[in-house]
């Protein structure tokens, strides 16, 4: 029984929750391939996309997900911090809630905002990425893509490469993957490996070349140039020398390895163009599945709400 009020992160999701979400997403996937890509499931429901940080892929994905379920989707982009802008963030959320939306999708450049807002408003919240805390829908679409390709999740080996410290994708994937019985290894320069992350049940290494062998999934992270303090790297060139996934490196990998990237890709920095375009790359499949995952979450949150009202 799926009875969550909000989707703030994958940390709080049980194995059963994740399976329900992935199964629901699988069943919704077909809708997006129809000539008329719309079902009436959420007709009369209102979804507000409240984005405090620039986003193309995630925002569009949520918008399409809502619209394919016939919800009314409103996009709000507010790229400055509330305290700079003048209106308090909590007031913004309370004002929007006063218009009776059914779901608020929240993205913010600072960690903890969706969780904080959930303490002030009743409307269900889906976290669309907060600072470098969590990005649950990304992790769920990653799991769906892996399960689709491999048939299972249990026991698979995943290596995640890059700027671990500033990645919300990593944290959400660690929680979700550990819950599903997968093995996670993190690779990156020590300046980008945050203190104590091993305690989340993962192994850590600094060397990409030695870590590829035997992996089922290689997940490359975007080098978030906008989040870097100037002391973390000597140069982009050296980072690329050490951590760019090239076809030469890929020779060491299993033949059926899956290559992931949450996007947007810095071509040639994290991943070479030929690897990105290769048949092992599932980067665009991830994006396709993102719509289905977000449809599934909207459906499950509102279905649950209706049940409670009955």
């Amino acid at each position: 029984m799926f009875n969550l009020k909000n989707i703030l992160g994958t940390k709080s999701l049980s194995k059963e929750d994740i399976i329900t979400i992935l199964d629901t997403a699988d069943s919704f996937k077909e809708i997006s391939t129809r000539p008329i890509k719309k079902v009436p499931t959420l007709r009369g429901k209102t979804v507000i996309n409240l984005f405090f940080e620039p986003s193309t892929r995630t925002r569009t994905s949520f918008e399409i997900a809502g619209k394919r379920l016939s919800a009314d989707v409103i996009n709000i982009s507010e790229y400055s911090s509330s305290s700079v802008k003048g209106e308090n963030l909590i007031d913004t959320a309370l004002n929007l809630e006063a218009m009776h939306p059914d779901i608020m999708v929240v993205r913010h450049s600072l960690s903890g905002i969706p969780e904080m807002l959930s303490q002030f408003i009743e409307c269900p919240i889906i976290n669309a990425g907060d600072g470098y805390h969590e990005h649950p829908t990304q992790a769920l679409l990653d799991l769906q893509t892996i399960r689709e390709a491999k048939g299972t999740l249990m026991g698979l080996n995943v290596v995640i490469v890059g700027d671990i410290a500033h990645s919300r994708v990593v944290r959400s994937n660690i929680y979700a993957m550990k819950t599903m019985g997968m093995h996670v290894k993190l690779i990156g320069p020590p300046t980008m490996i945050p203190l104590g992350i091993e305690k989340m049940g993962v192994s850590v290494s600094y060397n990409l070349e030695d870590s590829i062998k035997g992996m089922d999934v290689i997940m490359m992270l975007r080098l978030q140039k906008e989040r870097q303090s100037k002391y973390l790297l000597s140069s982009i060139r050296e980072y690329s020398n050490l951590y760019c996934l090239t076809s030469k490196l890929l020779e060491k990998a299993k033949d059926d390895v899956l290559i992931f990237h949450p996007g947007p890709v810095n071509r040639g920095i994290e991943i070479s163009l030929d690897v990105m375009k290769s048949e092992r790359s599932f980067i665009l499949t991830q994006v396709t599945n993102g719509v289905a995952i977000r449809m599934a979450l909207m459906y499950l949150l509102l279905e649950n709400k209706n049940d409670n009202n009955n």
Binding site: N88, L89, I90, L110, S111, A165, R171, G196, S229
Partner: protein
């Protein structure tokens, strides 16, 4: 006006007293102290009686680290409301940090604060003046003039003195006036953008960390400077294991180093930050359970001399924000006594030693004429019930600000009366 406080357990660490006694107060001074029923007084002036049965009677508490926000930020706290909060928490003396607007870096500001305190303040107020002009860390304040105006110590609290040579000169210069320098120890280049302790929890929450080394490095730097130059160092709100050890070593060498700890740093750990409650955001940040254990050991063995609150009132508009954007600090005056008394239950300190760290030791370090019940001294007295359990209720705080993570906590140690120079400035019944 004559008052007699009867039937209480009198604890006066400065005079090694811990036994049932009555106290006679006359003209604001302690006139007599004797076994229950033994005090003879002039029958012409019938004293009013305070029955302290079941209560502890001790010197009024002293807090060497408060922010009263006036002048400049009166919407957070004023000297008047800060003093009311102090009185409600059992404090009869407080020392105000200089990070007001304007900064307390000149005689005029010191005199202004002290005169406001005299006319509006319920409790004794001492002024701590800036080490550097405007707290800018660039040039020394006029320490001589500030001392003459009444300053009892110097600190750039909130802004550590980063420049090494300037800090060395500050130690040297302050020697002329024999006043301590209070350092908020934090290497700012290691904590820039940080909002909680760096470690496992900051990693999970995705919040930028403030490593404890940032504190340790500056504590060590100051001790190293002081060892050469002389002067006196008081480390504000110590929070890390290694800093406690550094102070312990300095003391074992006989260096004039003292330190304080804030109750939240021996009560909470970084785990409290989960949930992003901005009332868990302070500087230095809440640290790990290892650090808390080391602090308790430091309290036990005397490395940590005193308890001070770092009372940092912030209005809800400065706290109801994104965790990263919220102001640092919590109010502490009205929770310090019960939180400190937990140390007695945990067998870290005796009741008398807790009181000592809140009364006579701060008075000794900062040369205040306070913190004891000696005959003839000002009748600054706290009466509290050490065993009555109650829930902390922030809506009842006398402070203008309610930013405390302890709302709803079940604690023991309720102030029943606070007297300043024999005058009742707080009593439970009238509040």
């Amino acid at each position: 006006m004559t008052i007699i406080i009867k039937n209480g357990r009198v604890i006066d660490p400065a005079n090694n007293i811990d036994e049932p006694k009555d106290i006679l107060i006359s003209k604001g001074k302690i006139k007599a102290l004797d076994l229950p029923g033994k005090i003879n007084f002039n029958t012409e002036e019938k004293p009013s009686v305070i029955d302290a049965k079941g209560c502890v009677v001790c010197p009024g508490l002293i807090d060497m680290h408060v922010h009263f926000r006036e002048p400049g930020f009166e919407y957070k706290e004023t000297i008047k409301t800060g003093c009311e909060s102090a009185a409600a928490g059992g404090f009869t003396s407080v020392a105000i940090m200089p990070n007001t607007n304007p900064v307390n870096d000149t005689r005029a500001v010191t005199e202004h604060i002290l005169s406001l305190a005299k006319s509006e303040g319920l409790v004794n107020v001492y002024a701590i003046a800036a080490i550097t002009k405007k707290l800018a860390g660039e040039s020394l304040s006029e320490m001589g003039d500030l001392k003459n105006a009444g300053a009892i110590a110097f600190s750039d609290d909130g802004r550590p003195v980063m420049n090494n040579e300037l800090m060395r000169r500050a130690f040297e210069y302050s020697k002329m006036f024999n006043l301590p320098l209070i350092q908020h120890s934090e290497m700012l280049d290691l904590t820039e953008g940080g909002c909680m302790n760096e470690g496992m929890v900051s990693t999970e929450l995705g919040l930028k960390g403030m490593p404890s080394e940032a504190e340790d490095i500056m504590v060590y730097r100051d001790i190293a400077l002081l060892e050469k130059t002389g002067g006196r160092l008081h480390v504000a709100h110590i929070s890390s294991k290694n800093s406690v050890e550094l102070v312990r070593q300095a003391k074992s060498k006989g260096l004039p180093v003292t330190c304080e700890v804030a109750p939240h740093h021996f009560t909470l750990t970084e785990e409290a930050v989960r949930g992003y409650d901005t009332n868990t955001k302070m500087s230095p940040p809440l640290r790990t359970s290892d650090d808390v254990e080391a602090i308790k050991e430091g309290l036990r063995d005397g490395t940590i001399d005193i308890i001070a609150t770092d009372h940092a009132p912030h209005d809800i508009t400065d706290k109801h924000l994104e965790y990263q954007n919220a102001c640092f600090g919590i109010v502490g005056l009205e929770t310090a006594l019960p939180l400190s008394l937990k140390l007695v239950d945990e067998k870290i300190l005796s009741l008398s030693n807790v009181i000592k760290k809140l009364t006579s030791t701060p008075a000794d370090i900062f040369s205040l004429r306070a913190g004891n019940l000696s005959l003839g001294s000002d009748a600054d007295i706290l009466i509290f019930n050490p065993s009555l359990e109650y829930a902390i209720d922030i809506s009842k705080f006398h402070s203008k600000s309610k930013n405390s993570p302890f709302d709803g906590w079940k604690v023991k140690g309720k102030t029943t009366h606070t007297l300043v120079r024999g005058k009742t400035v707080y009593s439970e019944k009238t509040n």
